[in-house]
């Protein structure tokens, strides 16, 4: 079973600061997704990365996929209080026989203080 290690587990920063969250595996990812989850809601997809070395931007969020497809990072520039939440990396179809099954990392709880 693919294990996804996320770090840090907790991140508490001031508004305006930058931050980076990491997702690593000992095995090669087929693809990787980043989700954001707010309290009382289900995860919502932010991005899917597929190609080694890929960089995707979503406003102030920058997602990188490592060249060897064994790691990924999420960088937030000038964090805002609205960025507070749980950030999850997940690999679709990590083994098994069913399409789309997601294996999640343990998540990073981000708190942005005003």
């Amino acid at each position: 079973t693919q294990l996804l290690e996320q770090s840090p587990q907790f991140l508490s920063i001031q508004e305006g600061e930058n931050l980076t969250v990491y997702c690593n595996s000992s095995s090669v990812f087929s693809s990787l997704q980043w989700y954001r989850q707010e309290p009382g809601e289900g995860p919502v997809l932010l991005v899917t990365v597929v190609t080694g070395g890929e960089v995707k931007k979503l406003k102030r969020l920058t997602f990188q996929f490592g060249d060897a497809r064994k790691d990924s990072s999420l960088h937030i520039t000038a964090a805002q209080t609205g960025d507070t939440g749980l950030y999850l990396c997940a690999e679709p179809n990590a083994g098994g026989t069913s399409y789309g099954k997601l294996t999640f990392g343990q998540g990073t709880i981000l708190t942005v203080h005003p």
Binding site: G42, P43, T48, S98, G100, L102, F104
Partner: protein, 116 residues
């Protein structure tokens, strides 16, 4: 915008009781999933369902668990005899491959199950 809905939002039950968690996936989706998230732990896959049958289940999904899609609309998760360790948030999700970039899996808001 279409969304996955789940009921109830919170279910409290006594140990040993049966519970049914209900989900209405997005109408044109084809694959359906249940996940759970124990407080403070990661989201874990339980089961996937396609073409009216289970396509994969995890070790967590033992004989006490079952899923049904009885009417082409609802997708239910039944726990026959709940245990304390079943207390968790249960998320339903659905997907239609090719519909969105990255084959986005759409999650419901979850049902918080508390077993006393």
């Amino acid at each position: 915008e279409p969304e996955v809905t789940q009921t109830p939002s919170h279910q409290v039950t006594q140990m040993g009781q049966e519970v049914i968690l209900r989900c209405v996936p997005i109408s044109n989706h084809l694959y359906f999933y249940w996940y759970r998230q124990i407080l403070g732990q990661k989201v874990e896959f339980l089961v996937s369902f396609y073409n009216n049958e289970i396509s994969e289940k995890s070790e967590i999904f033992d004989d006490q668990f079952s899923v049904e899609r009885p009417d082409g609309s609802n997708f239910t998760l039944k726990i026959r005899s709940t245990k304390l360790e079943d207390s968790a948030m249960y998320f339903c999700a659905s997907i239609r491959p090719g519909l969105t970039p990255g084959n986005e899996q759409f999650f419901g808001p979850g049902t918080r199950l508390t077993v006393l």
